[in-house]
Symmetry: C2
Subunit: 310 residues, 2 copies
């Protein structure tokens, strides 16, 4: 089952012709989650050939424009294209009013339910859950209330060996018990231990998003051991004062968080527009955390235990 | 002196990879006027190599998203780039609150004065004037209050023949009078009639913008005889019912307005996304008004009497 991330915008506050500001798409078993939605995100979705109507859940980390100015346009387009399905937005409460007054001014009455779920200051909570994934919010350290999000796939049931099911003609009720870890007892009273007749399921996969934030160790427990961490890296280390003043991080700081949290892979992004060559940021990050890659608009990362944990 | 129009977005409500929604740039003697500002306009400005900070006046025709969703992002970028100069926005009053609550949510205090000039319902008025140009708003017929804008260059003074100034060594005070149309009397009392010693100045140029609107003849007096008219043409004639229902125009209707107003050149645009090939709209419009061209993103039109009035 799919668990993949696509970077729709890798830049910071000012859009450029090569880097859109923040937006990402996470595909968890074909359920599509949009994370942040800068101006131009709907066009990035088209450019990278995603179907807009497949998005049902949008997570907005905070209310700086480079993380949400594209939301009103995306919602407007979904409406014009005839959307009927619910759309859920997880965001600071003020965003609902911002969206509402714009639709009021344009005389628009949405044809689909737009449901806001407010993020609460200074708390971490499970904000979304379905049979495959849980999403937790957690506070970051930025100039306005800002949240990170961690997506953790749920533990799968054990896989029964198919040859065993056929050989013993096992009834469905027993199959369900075996998948949950029980042993099997046949009609002669013979016991088959669970580990002999099942295979380990794929380990749950996980993705964490931290943008925008100062270097902030309190995030570590929330993002502990994730397969892939996106962490903003607005500045290089010689600009650490700018990072502190502007509530952002350096590439070294992002890498330090990745290392301390024991994550598998780090993606850095949200680069200041001053850096024409993000390779310089990458080499600083790699000096601390070698398994780091650069976010680029359109980059797709398949988050798969087998690939990422070796 | 320059009088030129650049189409930044030629599409209608839904942005596509080939047509951004409405935005245009008018250069009048190197003063830059932005007309409408859809999502993505700041990137269109970069793409077509305009300097963002040269814009001091922005005209917003109405509060449908495809005409203003890009304003907040543009203003935000100008702020981040260190703008100090005043920015004037001519728009329906509700836009000020829409901009204000977004900057309040992001904790942004603009470093430059952002001055709103409200458009008033159902009236036409001079909304801007400088030594070179007057801008008049006028009501259109759309589902929400919507205005057109007409930019008319002021009448220039007469040009004195340089050979005459040199030959007669004419003092500056006299030159100013002659430019205004007076005759010249030399020290011997000899009268030189003004038309003999001056040349006609270039005729004032003009541009009118009509988007979005139903077919609406009351606009004709305001746009009478302009050099270039932009008129929306959302639909082809077989969809005239859709045009009426949605308060838009067909290409034929746009051309009929152009003909009745005696304009020189018509640009049609704001095409429904259903038309992959705008040539069909063009051929309908040309059947009524031959001097019609299609708006395309990036199209530049130099509005010059000598070129356009032949």
């Amino acid at each position: 089952m799919t668990f993949s991330l696509t970077i729709l915008g890798s830049g910071s506050a000012i859009p450029t012709l090569t880097r859109n500001p923040s937006a990402q798409l996470l595909n968890v078993h074909e359920k599509i989650f949009l994370i942040d939605c800068a101006e131009g995100t709907q066009l990035q979705l088209r450019k990278f050939k995603f179907r807009l109507q497949k998005i049902d859940h949008i997570f907005i980390s905070h209310l700086h424009g480079d993380h949400f100015f594209g939301l009103i346009g995306l919602i407007s387009t979904l409406h014009l294209l005839g959307r009927k399905n619910e759309m859920h937005v997880y965001a600071p409460a003020e965003l609902e009013e911002i969206i509402d007054i714009q639709f009021k001014a344009s005389g628009t009455i949405l044809r689909f339910p737009l449901i806001f779920h407010y993020l609460h200051q200074r708390t971490s909570e499970i904000i979304y859950e379905d049979k495959n994934v849980k999403v937790r919010s957690f506070p970051l350290n930025h100039s306005i209330p800002t949240w990170g999000f961690v997506f953790r796939e749920k533990q799968k049931e054990r896989n029964i060996r198919k040859d065993f099911i056929i050989e013993k003609n096992i009834p469905v009720t027993e199959i369900l018990k075996i998948k949950k870890g029980e042993d099997y007892v046949d009609e002669n009273g013979k016991i088959y231990k669970n580990p002999e007749i099942t295979l380990n399921p794929q380990e749950p996969r996980s993705y964490a998003y931290c943008s925008d934030t100062r270097y902030f160790e309190p995030v570590i427990p929330f993002i502990k051991d994730v397969d892939v961490l996106f962490h903003e890296a607005t500045f290089m280390q010689d600009k650490v004062k700018n990072a502190i003043e502007n509530f952002h991080s350096t590439a070294i700081e992002a890498a330090t968080i990745a290392k301390k949290a024991g994550v598998n892979k780090l993606i850095i992004g949200h680069y200041s527009a001053r850096y024409k060559n993000a390779e310089l940021l990458l080499s600083e990050a790699k000096s601390i955390f070698p398994n780091t890659i650069l976010a680029e608009d359109g980059l797709k990362v398949d988050i798969d235990m087998d690939i990422n944990r070796n």
